[in-house]
């Protein structure tokens, strides 16, 4: 799920860059320096995840992980995804460099939403956390597909047609990501629960403190 060069109209390309830059700087300002190692590790996991191809029937799908990144990083997720996508487009030619802004919006907004969703509804029991984690993992990919359709609709495509195709094509990814995020959240909740406490809802300290 990457948009290539030259697909989007120029206004959307520029607008995507401006919106992503604003959100990324907001995200960077909200990142506390004690969280930097965690953000770095999750960013590299996100960067590598899209290389893991899961064979599924005649085709193969790859992970995207916006839901997990959002659940673990909260506000910092946008910065993380922006950096991961920048390096992916530079090193792997995944998505064009001009479409980077739009691509970052497409994956970063679901991550922010999933982070908020996870933090708000995660509850206290581990079963509840796992369920909500799995839901946010699935929701992240589904939302990314919808935003992809929205962005492509600005390039003159039919929104509902593209949305339908993108969602159907990503049903396996959505299922796999839901399961994977639920498993990861359950594991982290048991082993290191403080990793699931991003400074998203109530920042426990001033930024860069």
């Amino acid at each position: 799920m990457h948009i290539s060069d030259g697909v989007l109209p120029i206004s959307i390309t520029v607008g995507g860059y401006v919106a992503s830059a604003a959100l990324a700087s907001f995200s960077a300002a909200r990142t506390r320096s004690v969280d930097l190692p965690k953000v770095a590790v999750v960013t590299s996991a996100f960067f590598v995840a899209s290389l893991i191809h899961v064979p599924f029937g005649p085709t193969s799908v790859h992970l995207i992980l916006p839901g997990l990144v959002g659940a673990m990083l909260g506000t910092s997720a946008f910065l993380s995804i922006g950096l991961g996508l920048l390096l992916q487009s530079l090193l792997f030619q995944f998505g064009g460099i001009t479409a980077l802004g739009a691509n970052t919006l497409m994956m970063g907004l679901p991550a922010l939403l999933c982070g908020w969703f996870f933090q708000t509804f995660k509850g206290n029991t581990r079963t509840c956390q796992m369920t909500i984690g799995g839901l946010s993992g699935a929701l992240g990919t589904a939302l990314a597909a919808v935003i992809l359709a929205l962005l492509l609709a600005t390039g003159g495509e039919d929104f509902f047609g593209v949305a339908k195709i993108a969602l159907v094509a990503h049903v396996p990814v959505i299922l796999i990501e839901g399961a994977l995020t639920a498993f990861t959240v359950g594991f982290l909740g048991r082993v290191k629960p403080e990793l699931l406490q991003p400074a998203f809802v109530k920042p426990s300290g001033p930024p860069h403190a």
Binding site: S33, L36, F47, L51, L83, G84, L87, A209
Partner: protein, 97 residues
Amino acid sequence: MMRFPKVLIVGGLSAWLMTFPVSAAAQAPAAEYAPELVTLLKEQTGKLSGDLRHIQREIAALRADLEKPGFRDIFSGIGYIFGLFGVAAFVASRRKE
């Protein structure tokens, strides 16, 4: 009797020089060569073009492989990420002092 080696010499020279192969072929009609030579050449040409096709296919496969990110790309990306966050942590720690 004297003509046959002359033709051979001319043909060999022209093949060696690679500059007048057409004129040499025109001077010596193909029928005057031994028919085995012609079939041999045809065989070799066929084998060579088969080999060439094989190599072209190999090159296409290699090019497709090159498009895929390799281990070097993956690790350099991870290195970039850790390095950039390391710089960020350094700047943040300097600011705190």
